[in-house]
């Protein structure tokens, strides 16, 4: 007799989400987490006394609102605070701020380009329509167009009908979005360098691609997805940091009877006669269940936890080709006072939004150039938030925490990541930012630098890729993580995947975890 129906390997937010949904449907679920804490990349820690950080993952991008509702996450402490604006500081003490208020935004854009100010709404409207066109793909298991499985054919039909109903001009626009680079696409719309740079930046996050690499335009869409769920300004910050997202999902899962064990590292998934039958822990314990779900990334799951002899050779080859190439790093700062950006020195609402170091497309592309040849960017792109401005409990009164997402910091750094290179990189980040906010250096009380190598070492994410594999078009939808195995199933009967390495992947969305649970339960999404 198995004590559990389902064992989930990995207590990241997707594993926990999957567990909660399975338990809600009556399954007995055990979650095994290697680390001493749950949450995977989504956790908060008091790194420096009195200062709480979302050490790794730092914003809530597109956490599915149905998950928030269905698992009653607010009851378990989840609150998402909107990031309201994006400030792009520029040379000569100028700046571009994108505000959530329409009139304020238009006036600011017009200062840079009256044409862009007019184009902005039209651009937004088009992307809204595109997002609507793509959205049905996000909440379902992606059908494989080559499959003959009647269920997949039905889904394909549904998706096909959906695309058939799109007006031709939307279909054409969608095709462009799927194939173009962010830079080229934005060139068709805007002339202001600061606006194009900042918008293009959202197309490269987490990916070893530059704004001029084809396929990056598609990611622009993601910023408009949230609107469709009534989650206006979907990009937000979780009260208490991203650890609160995991904690709320875990609490919901436990309320449904899920058992969570930490410091329980799985070394192997047991397979008997082509069927998953259990797991072996590092301490030698064997645990059995008829369904095993892996929240680990595809490489760790199929080239680590499962023996290659249990898998078809072409599948193993596909997983070996699946690209990770972590490209981003984090610098977390504890600050004694707010940074004073010379372009907007007084504290104000602009400090409650994102701050983007992306003055132009060229700036980003140059940052990428260095990374292509194994160096970190000398003048990197940064996406900065000051969570304590939104949630004062993150830092002592009057003091602040600053989270800096940095790109590019290639996993494959020439000479490798060492402690010295990490600090050198940290200095580069602080020096670059201090050009815009000169008081920064003196305000720093504590600095934490997290490189892709650290991400891999601490979280077990291969090559430090924050999305469990690059979000590039050849690895998305029915190709994620491998052709013919995108519906959370694997070549091993009873073994499923629920991590960000499956469709739709990426960010703190929870969609992979929920979709996987639906697939396991045989529920049509």
């Amino acid at each position: 007799m198995n004590q559990h129906d389902v064992i989930i390997v990995g207590g990241g937010h997707n594993g926990l989400t999957c567990a909660a949904y399975l338990a809600r449907a009556g399954k007995k679920v055990l979650v095994l987490e290697r680390r001493e804490r749950i949450g995977g990349a989504a956790f908060s820690e008091e790194v420096f006394p009195g200062f709480r950080f979302s050490v790794f993952s730092y914003v809530v991008s597109l956490l599915r609102p149905e998950i928030i509702r269905e698992l009653e996450l607010p009851r378990h402490g989840l609150q998402i605070l909107p990031l309201e604006s994006t400030l792009t500081p520029l040379a000569n003490d100028d700046r571009l701020v994108q505000w959530s208020d329409h009139d304020q935004n238009r006036a600011e854009l017009a200062r840079h380009s009256p044409r862009d100010a007019e184009a902005y709404d039209e651009f937004g409207l088009l992307l809204h329509r595109m997002a609507r066109a793509v959205k049905p793909l996000l909440s379902v298991a992606p059908p494989d167009p080559a499959s003959l499985d009647p269920r997949e054919l039905f889904d394909m039909l549904r998706v096909g009908r959906h695309f058939r109903d799109l007006p031709p001009k939307d279909l054409h626009a969608l095709w462009k979005l799927l194939t173009m680079s962010a830079a080229d696409y934005l060139d068709e719309w805007f002339e202001s360098e600061a606006l194009k740079g900042t918008k293009a930046a959202s197309g490269i996050i987490g990916t070893m691609l530059g704004p001029r690499s084809p396929g990056t335009a598609y990611v622009l869409l993601h910023h408009y997805m949230g609107e469709l769920d009534g989650v206006f300004r979907a990009w937000g910050f979780a009260k208490g940091g991203n650890g609160s997202v995991s904690a709320a999902i875990a609490a919901a899962a436990q309320a449904h009877g899920v058992e969570i064990r930490t410091q329980a590292s799985v070394s192997r998934i047991l397979v008997k006669g082509g069927r998953a039958s259990g797991v072996v822990l590092e301490n030698g314990d064997e645990l059995h269940a008829s369904t095993i779900v892996s929240g680990a990334d595809p490489r760790r799951t199929f080239l680590g936890l499962v023996r290659a002899e249990n898998l078809p050779a072409d599948f193993v080859a596909a997983i070996q080709r699946y690209k990770f190439r972590g490209a981003s790093a984090k610098v977390n700062l504890a600050l004694g006072e707010l940074p004073r950006f010379t372009c907007m020195p007084e504290p104000g609402p602009h400090m409650r939004g994102a701050i983007s170091i992306s003055p132009s497309v060229d700036y980003l592309e140059r940052a990428y150039d260095e990374a292509k040849y194994g160096e970190f960017s000398k003048r990197p792109y940064m996406d900065i938030v000051i969570p304590s401005m939104l949630d004062p409990s993150m830092a002592p009164p009057g003091k602040h925490v600053m989270s800096i997402f940095v790109q590019y910091a290639p996993y494959h750094l020439t000479g490798g990541w060492t402690d010295a290179r990490r600090e050198e990189f940290g200095d580069t980040v602080v020096n670059t930012l201090a050009e815009y906010a000169p008081n920064l250096k003196n305000a720093i009380l504590h600095r934490q630098v997290v490189t892709p190598a650290d991400i891999e070492r601490v979280l077990g994410l291969s090559e430090g890729n924050i999305f469990q594999g690059e979000l590039s078009l050849q690895q998305m939808f029915f190709l994620r993580p491998a052709p013919a195995w995108a519906r959370y199933r694997t070549p091993i009967h009873g073994l499923f995947q629920c991590g960000s390495g499956t469709h739709p992947g990426g960010g703190v969305m929870g969609a992979s975890g929920r979709n996987a649970a639906m697939e396991i339960l045989g529920v049509r999404a």
Binding site: P65, E66, I68, R69, P74, Q79, L81, P82, E84, S100, D101, D103, Q104, H128, R132, E227, L228, D229, G230, V231, R233, K239, P349, R352, M389, L390, D391, P392, S393, P396, P397, G398, K399
Partner: protein, 392 residues
Amino acid sequence: MLKTTPLHERTAALCVSHAWRRWAGHVVASSYELTHEREYHVIRVAAGLLDVSPLYKYLIRGRDAGRLLDLVVTRNVMRAAVGQVLYTPWCDHAGKVIDDGTVARLDEQLFRMTSAEPSLRWLQDNAIGMQVEITDVSDATAALSLQGPMSWSILQSMGAPSLKYFRITSATLRGIPVTISRTGYTGDLGFEVWVDAAQALPLWDALIDAGRGYGIMPTGLLALDIARIEAGLMLIDVDYVPARKVLIESQLSSPFELDLAWTVNLDKERFIGRQALADEKARGPQWLFVGVEVDWSSLERLYQEVGLATRVPAAAWRMSVPIYAKGEQVGYATSGAWSPLLKKYIALAHLQAPWAKPGTQLEMEITVEHRRKRAAITVVKKPFFDPPRKRA
């Protein structure tokens, strides 16, 4: 001319949006910033500072002060301890609600009552033969509401004594004499600070200064409206018609019909409306005031049919919206909002008793692209949001 509150000098300077709302003959900020969104979140994550001075306030003093209030309101005032605050409705002789507010026992023989409507005449008329002095201190007393999880940290940093839920105390904040009650209209941890109108501006400045490190923000009524709906708290003239403004009988509401059965203390020998309320209790109320949640997928479908992304109201609404069961109208919603916290479209509604049980599936009218549609809704328990910190 509309009146301004004692805090107007500060609030007007901060009101970037130029959006004002009338409240009891005063103007008060609807939102300070261009949109009210951040002000809403501040209530739930930090501390919002609201000017609630337009409330009507009365001091009731004297040997019979407790007896008068006990006669007027439905709750037991005689049993209230010094330092206790009661939320309570009060009724006419037919047991229909006239108003709702708070009664605070400041001392053995001294109370402060707050109300939404002027109440001096009603108090005086019922005090005949009693040894009691009733003073309208509405203009003389300013009130600031500090609401949100950081509200206590701010007051504590200013040396305020700790306070239990629905208790009141006198205190001195940076040299300013005040009374502080742990009350509010948000369903969150929160306090209301009562101060002599002449000291209102220095108190505002002191709170803003002390609150700076705790994320304090001036907050307007649009944000408050969402918070109070999440808290399941009704609003006079919106969710019920006070008995004195009623033109036809069906507009009247009893406390039972407003989900205030818990405030009706029939153990009291005598209070206005007692007999009618005792009869109604025996009969069972015809209507109930409940929370409803709109089913998201149902709403989504209605918008999908016309090719639009689902829309939710940007601000709380206040109107009467029909609710149906199997095609028959069985009630109406009076307040609704998209809860940014719960990611749910919620509403407060009056339903005929047989349809008011939690879990009941009904339909609510939704206008989609100019056409009246019906979305599935579920009756749920109020409050929609009830954080432990509220009482902790």
